[in-house]
């Protein structure tokens, strides 16, 4: 195996966004998992020098995730590219923080996303799912993304936030532009939406983030004047250890929620529907036994792996999987690799709703950055499947999916399915 400046060279490219136009490179991940220790993967302008350690085995992802003092979220960036200090500071959110900042922020927002709070939204989510599924069936199928998988999560998160339904399409438009920022770059001019902030200071380098900030501010003023029974109000009122969210924290968190509460769950619903269309035997198992739906939801989420990776940066020299990592090195947890690791899953390449134990890392590797919306995402996928089952909806394959050129989100922009 070739030597690089750091260690053995990766036997496969898993970072070029264009690769993902053909789907997750599972064979490449398998080849990397099989190498002893960690491999060094080139990335970015300086190739080998700006590369990263590719962490693809389940146990190693866990090790990184559960040791946040060593594998920092606050240094460099949590995406593959580095940010300059001022950009990092301007964009800083829950995701890019370490303790004690992360602890404080997380506590401020956790109570809005507990299992019990999530259950209070179930009826609302179920009504939306039922409406979308009925319309989809009435249409005889069509683009699953446009008709079901995109509108369901965005309508749910906007209802939770207290954003008017008529703004849903605008929010979808903005988050679609954010995803572009993880691929080949934004197609928007820098001054789109009246933006005058240098894009390097904006999340996803996108002027769409400026538009989301403006929208967040509009919501803040509305709810300060007239509090409602919604998440924006409870965020503005949230207090932990006598502290509240600052204006910048609130704005960044609103932006994060609209993105993460929408794009990721959408992606899970897309890959779930595609999987059930391709594996009707698995759908039949859910039809035969409704108790299978809950574990089936986790299999959908493992299969989808909506977020492909998160990056950490070593805060000290450390050994991982027998490889020495130097302080300052990028260490990237590839959930897409861990979720197909035969060391953690029997027949990992099989879509199997009958898995008894499903320790997938689609919500993160088990450390403190564990997905804030995990219960919400599970609940949404579950009510969608249940509303489909209640109407005996059976999906069948239609067109090939149009996939995104993104190494960060396992995105699909459209896929035609048929109602069998």
């Amino acid at each position: 195996m070739a030597e690089t400046t750091k260690g053995p060279a990766s036997p496969a490219d898993i970072a070029s966004p264009a690769i993902y136009l053909d789907g997750i490179p599972h064979e490449g991940f398998a080849a990397i998992r099989e190498v002893d220790g960690l491999v060094w993967h080139p990335y970015g302008d300086e190739g080998d020098r700006s590369g990263f350690w590719a962490v693809t085995r389940h146990a190693d992802v866990r090790e990184v995730s559960k040791n946040p003092d060593t594998f920092s979220s606050a240094i460099g960036h949590t995406n593959l590219w580095d940010l300059e200090a001022d950009a990092l500071e301007a964009r800083r959110s829950l995701i890019d923080s370490d303790a004690p900042d992360h602890t404080r922020l997380r506590r401020l927002v956790s109570r809005a996303f507990t299992p019990r709070t999530t259950r209070t939204w179930e009826g609302m989510a179920r009504d939306i799912a039922a409406e979308l599924v009925e319309d989809y069936v009435a249409d005889g199928g069509g683009d699953w993304v446009e008709k079901v998988a995109a509108p369901l999560p965005i309508r749910v998160i906007l209802a939770i936030l207290g954003v008017p339904t008529e703004d849903a399409n605008y929010m979808v438009e903005l988050t679609n532009y954010l995803v572009e920022g993880t691929g080949e770059g934004s197609s928007l001019p820098d001054d789109a939406y009246g933006n005058s902030t240098p894009t390097r200071l904006l999340p996803f380098n996108s002027p769409a983030s400026h538009a989301l900030y403006e929208y967040a501010e509009k919501m803040r003023q509305l709810r300060m004047a007239e509090p409602g029974d919604d998440l924006v109000t409870s965020l503005l009122e949230a207090e932990a250890d006598g502290e509240r969210l600052t204006a910048a924290e609130y704005r960044n968190f609103f932006q994060l929620l609209v993105f993460a509460g929408n794009e990721t769950t959408r992606t899970a619903m897309i890959h779930g529907a595609m999987a059930f269309a391709e594996h009707p035997d698995q759908w039949a198992r859910l039809q035969a036994d409704p108790a299978r739906v809950a574990p089936g939801v986790d299999e959908v989420i493992r299969w989808a792996s909506p977020i492909l990776h998160m990056r950490r940066t070593a805060s000290r020299d450390v050994e991982l999987a027998g490889t020495w990592i130097a302080k300052g090195d990028k260490v990237v947890m590839w959930y897409a690799g861990a979720n197909r690791d035969p060391g953690a899953f029997d027949y990992p390449d099989r879509f199997d709703v009958g898995r008894e134990d499903n320790p997938h890392y689609a919500f993160g590797g088990g450390g403190p950055h564990f997905c804030l919306g995990a219960f919400l995402a599970r609940m949404e996928v579950q009510v969608l499947l249940e509303e489909m089952l209640a109407r005996n909806v059976v999906l069948a394959p239609g067109s090939e999916p149009e996939r995104l050129a993104s190494n960060f989100v396992h995105g699909v922009s459209s896929v035609e399915l048929a109602v069998a």
Partner: protein
Amino acid sequence: MSEQDGAERVSMAVDEDRCIGIGQCELLEPDVFHLGDEDAISRVAGGADLSRSRALELVDRCPSGAISIVELGS
């Protein structure tokens, strides 16, 4: 340590300074752990116990490392 590991019952504790309210514990053992409505900090129901093996799993599954087993003096 007991030789009959699976049968042994143990109590649990939550370090409130480490807990960040993720809720895995309440999801896995709703009779033992409750997140506060106001602060989302996990607390252990009075008198609740678990088998040692399940307790170890709960310790392991806590993302913030806030759960521990209370060793009773023998």
